[in-house]
């Protein structure tokens, strides 16, 4: 954990140094820092996902729902990663497009689940 914080702070100073001289290098540096920090905490993420898998197995839900949740989690993370990077670079329009694309993909994935819920409701009434 400390390693990640130190990497972040060191990178912020270097980015400030490079900001006015070479803005593109500042962006590259921030991209590289995000990637490195995420690689740092991926191990912890894998552990959390395995625990959640066990938790979900107790619920005896049909198998597809947990992997659907994971997929949606991954898509929102990637969309947020891309859009915040574009916002850093000042391109808010592109960031908004990436957000929109992320939402569309999430909706398209979760539609079958919504339909299943409604069918269940109709059958109950």
């Amino acid at each position: 954990m400390i390693k990640i914080v130190f990497i972040g702070i060191a990178a912020v100073f270097l980015i400030l140094l490079l900001k006015n001289a070479k803005p593109e290098f500042a962006l590259l540096l921030s991209l590289c820092t995000c990637v490195v920090m995420m690689l740092g905490c991926v191990g912890v993420l894998a552990g959390v996902i395995d625990r959640l898998q066990e938790l979900f197995s107790y619920a005896k839900l049909p198998g597809g729902y947990f992997s659907l949740l994971l997929k949606i989690l991954g898509i929102t993370y990637l969309a947020d990663f891309g859009s915040s990077l574009c916002k850093d670079a000042g391109q808010t329009a592109i960031a908004a497009q990436i957000d929109l694309a992320g939402r569309l993909v999430v909706i398209s994935i979760s539609l079958p689940v919504i339909l299943a819920v409604f069918e269940e409701l109709v059958r109950m009434i």
Binding site: K3, A21, F25, C32, V35, L39, G74, I75
Partner: protein
């Protein structure tokens, strides 16, 4: 895993070093009047840094894909 504690900080410092070097060289080239060389040098620096970063990005995306079953 490409990742090690010293690997990551060293990578970040290398990128910052290339950035500073390129900006210094650009200043020198600008003052000596050769504008297009300055642009070429900054382009080369950019490509070099991209060359270093791409394997890390590829590894991150493959890990994310395999972890979230995307």
């Amino acid at each position: 895993m490409l990742l090690g504690v010293c690997m990551t900080i060293q990578l970040i410092f290398r990128i910052a070093a290339v950035g500073i070097l390129v900006s210094v060289i650009n200043q020198i080239l600008k003052h000596s009047g050769r504008e297009e060389h300055a642009f070429l040098v900054s382009l080369a620096g950019l490509l070099l840094v991209l060359l270093w970063i791409v394997p890390y990005i590829a590894e991150l995306f493959s890990i994310i894909r395999e972890l979230f079953e995307l």
